[in-house]
Subunit: 588 residues, 2 copies
Amino acid sequence: MPRAKLSEVTRTLAAVCAGREAADLVISGGRLVNVFTREVLDGLEIAVKDGRIALVGDASHTRGPETELIDADGAYLVPGLVDTHLHVESAMVTVTRFAEAVLPRGTTTAVIDNHEIANVFGLDGIRWMLDEGRDLPLKVFLAVPSCVPALPGFEDAGAVLGPDEIRTALRWPGVVGLGEMMNMPGVLEGDVGVHAEIAATLEAGKPVTGHWSLAGVRDARLQAYAAAGIDSDHESTTREDAIAKLRAGIWVQFREGSTFRDVTALAPVLTEDGVDPGHCLLVTDDVHPETLVEDGHLDRAVRAAVEAGVDPLVAIQMATLNPSEYFGLRHEVGSLAPGRLADVLFVEDLRAFRPHRVLADGLPVPERLTGPAYPERAYRSVCLARTLTREDLRIQARGPIARVRAIGLASDTVTTEHLVVEAPVEDGAVPASVALDLIKAASIERHGGPGTLGLGFVKGLGLRRGAVASTVAHDNHNLNVAGVKDDDMLFAVEQLERSGGGMIAVADGDVLALVELPIAGLIADRPVADLARACRDLEQAYRALGSTVAAPYMIFSFLSLAVIPALRLTNRGLVDGIEFALVPPVAG
Amino acid sequence: MPRAKLSEVTRTLAAVCAGREAADLVISGGRLVNVFTREVLDGLEIAVKDGRIALVGDASHTRGPETELIDADGAYLVPGLVDTHLHVESAMVTVTRFAEAVLPRGTTTAVIDNHEIANVFGLDGIRWMLDEGRDLPLKVFLAVPSCVPALPGFEDAGAVLGPDEIRTALRWPGVVGLGEMMNMPGVLEGDVGVHAEIAATLEAGKPVTGHWSLAGVRDARLQAYAAAGIDSDHESTTREDAIAKLRAGIWVQFREGSTFRDVTALAPVLTEDGVDPGHCLLVTDDVHPETLVEDGHLDRAVRAAVEAGVDPLVAIQMATLNPSEYFGLRHEVGSLAPGRLADVLFVEDLRAFRPHRVLADGLPVPERLTGPAYPERAYRSVCLARTLTREDLRIQARGPIARVRAIGLASDTVTTEHLVVEAPVEDGAVPASVALDLIKAASIERHGGPGTLGLGFVKGLGLRRGAVASTVAHDNHNLNVAGVKDDDMLFAVEQLERSGGGMIAVADGDVLALVELPIAGLIADRPVADLARACRDLEQAYRALGSTVAAPYMIFSFLSLAVIPALRLTNRGLVDGIEFALVPPVAG
């Protein structure tokens, strides 16, 4: 049943308040967390009708013979959590499966920026997820991806989104803003297309969300970014950066993702600097399957804030009221008040913050959810132009020794190093070298486009045999492969293409591990726990091949991320991410 | 020059930040009040371009040969004040003249609810004011009046607005919400038309503003009001009512008007209960010409809050940031931050709070403003069906003594008493009686409608001779007249009709005082100071006629206000404002 709009039920809710109609549900015996006044209030009941809260107070006159009664038994009643910035694709599942995983954790509203599927399927992919989210107990809103492709001219993604596409998407119900504006140079330099996207969003009266990853840059450049109408950001890692943004009118999203966990570092903004917390939010950005299964979602961010000394009531505001206000959703979510959707968390202890019962739209969240099937086309996203041969992987050079560029990878960082390494030449080409920890990599266009591939070397992944490949390849999501032996690389590509996409590790003609992500080569319609297991197996396979870096398949998935320094590999070749130039694999 | 939309100038602002273009204006040497973080920050400059703030910080690189420089000389720099609920008509002037009066006081944004002119000219009147406000230095937004007429079935105003008219107005640029929903019974009882107006507003994504004047009522009725989507209110007079509303998700507007001054009573919500001030606002509602001239506007509310113990920075948030967020205007007004309109107040002392310099759109506010002329029709609003005679004013009764109803008026209250008085009958009718302080009153339809009039008696106004009349007659704004002698009453009506409307006092064929309000019979295109003088003269005339009540012409202007208890006079007759029934002047 589709969710009732407030405008459709105001008369019904008033009738319940007046006792003319019975409530569907009355919750008694809870300690209500009022996020407006920042109080805990005892002795209040919540009456629910048509999925919305009719009243908070004495609900005795709203009980009818059919009214369900819930005794909260002294638990705190907290509004469902609202996450204003996340990529569903990081959980490697469909929106439905994502909802299934996060609802029991207390996340009842998600503003997704489905940048990843947008790079594969453009507006169609964006729309599939939006439609999928329409009737879930999770309230799914969308910030339409602003940067597809991430670095025009240096990569071929599956789609190009410009101002026209943005304008189209902004008209779709549920689209509440523009997704993270990563093109900081475009904003600062006055790029016409970038500013046209922003203008379209402002004209639609919706927020333009940000991504200001220039750590420590708090000067006129930050002011320009804010002057362009961008008014949120989740990339602060220091309190100084966070405060500078708050002062400029930017709502600061304290991020607690799987890899990037900034809440502890940012908490002093509230606990020491004591600024008004009204524009501080908690977000997850990227949470991977294992984190979801083992630790939770936005509830985890609330816990992190409390552990860092933030008043639990403020931490809850940062995950409920403040997010709802940022996106203009105050009538819908973010508070336990008349008219709002009845998303209610039952929590024994506000500091431990482990929701033990979750209602969405006044109903218990189901253990399993089923969504609409993705179209056939979504499963056919790995479209290589042709079958590759060993010849395609040759990096030619004159010997006996060549100076080759290598992408330096390391644990726990997305940035890479731009290395130049002396390597032996064999038969007019430079092969991978275990001795030098130099493995070969290829980035192969897989969206049915030009069919080109780029070649280069990688150092630091630590493979000593076999090959790995992935269609999760931020942000263009081409098919990336790296390995010690060309035959293993070709085998990995072939196997991954056959499976419809995902992440794979092979050696000597055997598949050691395969995370199947057949939808767009990015996600699967399977329980998140399955993905968590598959990812653990994949990590083991990386280990078996010799890799010692932390989260090796994640690190590998960033190989193409040319918007981040220093050296990257896309289907057009090696990209110098500082000079923004294509550079050859052999430095000469 | 029309104001630039942010979406039109993001590239220009970015160019100023980067030093590619020069600023129009740089303000240095001020102490900046940052309303996001609630801090005072020294050493920052403000660079302005095209009326908007390009950057806050070091603006040295934005200075060009044409750049104007202002040295704030240590003054605090405060964002222009934003008033979210006011009736321009209370100032008795056009929007232009209102702007002229309030801008020097620091009010740079006004959300007007022009309920009064709407009762005379319907959508046309609403539109005239909206259009008039379009290019003023004052930012004029509009909450479209929701209750025209205020009490359908008991009065004839000049217009009837229903859901269709509301929907039309909601599409006009600058219309940001629905005006105060005074029809509380309609909301609670599920009136279809009332809820259709609310639904139209919610569908448009705009706030529904409230008017909850049931003091002390904080039970399920208040919850129903909030559940209907109404989320602001300016009628709280006690902290208990204010907190109950805040808890229900209603933004509480602390009112500091000319007559109703609630800030002192409500301040303990912040100073003692210590709730989150984010949803607390300051508003003026009704400010009369004398107050404007002598004491100010929203600046006066800030002073009242500070005097009541509210932290000055919180008081400023309540008049800047919080209002802008309530109406979704955060990119436009309410803060000194990149992208926002450069409305800047210079204030020596945050506690005394007397802006000594005001910039609107980065420019000094002119001493005199000229707006577009109102159409001819606006000046022909007093349309009586026919010339009245003494016969029309006869209140027939059988003698020698009749029991007549009288509207009991008193100082400093809008409510009236429903009195029954024994009065002598002469020639088959009851005349006014100075001895009994019983004066006769008539409410005459003046909008070119049915041309009916209602008759009754008034006690407490204290006239001992002459007559008074007014086309300011909340909320239907018919022509009301009251007097001791029928001839004076007829003369007052005739003079007021001839002048095009306003307020008048006469005696024995002489006009003692006349406040000419020729536009809609409500406002004039004259400086507010003129109106203040005219009103003082009118009050003196009331005194000369014997009236001793405070603000007698204001009290008289509420004679028809049938939504407020207990007895009122409209063109349909006496209205029992508790039972909601028409009652005869002679009680029988």
